[in-house]
Amino acid sequence: MLVLVAGCGRMGRHVAEMLFQSGTEVIVVDHSAEALEALSDSFTGLTYRGDVREITTLEEAGIERADVVLACTGDENANLLVAEVAQNTYDVPRAIIRALDPLKQEVLEQMGVESVCPVLLGATAILEALGLPEMEG
């Protein structure tokens, strides 16, 4: 399985490293050389430098070979665009995006886009740690 990780901030980096450690083939794409260098030394997967919002970057990184695309940049709009392009233009079987705003998750779902919202997950975990019931929405 090949996973393309778009965005190598804290989230993209951790996901990429964890996937790599589990033996998954990974390619990480980010426009910042610094961000790519921040990957741990034990990560020897592929990296590609370029703006993920540009189709040519995704193409050159080999998006059409990817089985999964994870759009993890800090820009929700870019994440949506990457996921939609992956699934519709390059027939990538699965794309998951990082949602920044919990309020957007519902509408992303309506769009048929699979998303994970770290803020919501964090808040839920804190409530759980405090033994408080989870709130709806």
């Binding site: 189709i55 709009n77 392009v85 509408v107």
Partner: protein
Amino acid sequence: MAYFLTKSLAGKGISVSVLNEDMDLCEAIARNPNILTVCAEQTDPRYLADAGAHRADVTVSLAEDDAENFMVSRLAKVRFDCPRTVALVHDPTYQRIFRDLGIDVAVSVVDILGSLLQEHLMVQAITDMIYIEDGRLVVSEVLIPCTSPSLHEPLRDLDLPQNTILAAILRRGSVIVPRGDTSVEPNDRVVLVTEPKSHSMALRILVGENNEE
């Protein structure tokens, strides 16, 4: 662009609302009491609702960022059932992709400006030109110079590119609908309908390479 577009649309009696983060821009637009102006993040569904996205017949997204325009157009479709979405595209490769992804009209500024400039620099013979269907079709009015390589040749013998037609010839005040045996004469103005990619070739045939004089 947003400022002048809203002004122009409102001037035509179209009901316009604006959602923009830029306070200065919003203040300038809001001077027109007929325009509902909401100063807030463009991609937030709540503010889109405040700006009347539920009632909009058309949503136009004009941000500098393609991804942002994509998000706004998708929200308009999915969340607000907007019948028609128009998005500005900066990276021309997105034009086709945006359409494939359900955005009704994707306008590529670079493509339109680029071909406009190219034509303008190359051929001063073009006297008028319009783009139709997001720039997929171009209609131009072209002056035939006395140096044209196609003078007195029946149109059917000209090697005009595919998907190109000469729709009309304007000659000394009268309009001629050309047929295969019609030919062009110096000082004719012809109405050319073609695809942008064939435009330059059609012009070379009708006008010639060197048309500076």
